[in-house]
């Protein structure tokens, strides 16, 4: 049954970018405030789920561009990669390392292995959920 989803489609157009924005925000503020990779990935997945509701599974696959399982794998690789700097520095594995890059104006861009690990978690959560959802859709 081809149903008429005009209102949901246009609403998804407006809401989905907002959700993606929110997910990136949650990912980046995860260091010392509530947020982090897990919940960011969850929100990103919800954005894609909304897209899947309104446009169907085929276009969602195209929108993701890569297979969700690859996303999951890349996320795990990121998690693994975040352990390397501490190993090179001779610390215990997963010890947090921080770099501060001065920015124009005031303030520092804080880079850390924690962020890399968080991005890994983000991608892994997104990949897992999209694997579930796309699997359910196609079954």
């Amino acid at each position: 049954m081809k149903s008429n989803t005009l209102i949901l489609r246009t609403a998804a157009l407006a809401i989905m970018p907002l959700q993606l924005m929110f997910s990136v925000f949650l990912l980046l503020r995860g260091h010392d405030e509530p947020g982090g990779g897990f919940i960011g990935g969850l929100v990103a997945a919800s954005a894609f789920v909304l897209y899947a509701f309104s446009f169907g599974v085929g276009s969602t696959r195209k929108l993701l561009r890569v297979s969700p399982k690859d996303l999951l794998a890349v996320g795990l690789l990121f998690g693994l990669a975040s352990t390397i700097p501490s190993l090179l520095a001779g610390e215990a594995m997963l010890t947090a390392m921080w770099w501060q890059l001065p920015l124009p104006g005031e303030g520092y861009l804080k880079l850390s292995t924690v962020l890399v690990f968080d991005i890994g978690v983000y991608l892994a959560v997104l990949g897992t959920l999209m694997t579930f959802v796309i699997g359910l859709m196609e079954s």
């Binding site: 049954m1 149903s3 509530p34 947020g35 509701f53 599974v57």
Partner: protein
């Protein structure tokens, strides 16, 4: 003054939640229950905002936005399920 207003508002919202739960239990149709759930999550957002003012912290604001996002997705999914018998075709 704000403190009294805050307490009164929390009481009002709590009463609203009780009424929503009444509709959630009573039914009679599945759509009524979904509507009650929808209203419940919006009231939950209100409670979180009030808690934020009460505790004078901004820690819980993101969770309020998060509930708004996830609750909307949930309502759409439930409505789609009721209509189609499956969530995604």
């Amino acid at each position: 003054m704000i403190e009294i207003a805050l307490k009164v508002t929390i009481a009002l919202i709590a009463l609203a939640v009780v009424l929503n739960v009444y509709r959630l239990i009573r039914g009679p149709d599945a759509t009524d229950r979904v509507l009650a759930l929808d209203t419940l999550y919006i009231n939950a957002i209100a409670l979180i905002l009030l808690l934020d003012i009460q505790l004078d912290t901004r820690l819980y604001l993101e969770s309020a936005l998060l509930i708004a996002v996830m609750g909307f997705i949930g309502t759409v999914a439930l409505a789609k399920y009721l209509k189609r018998g499956s969530v995604i075709e």
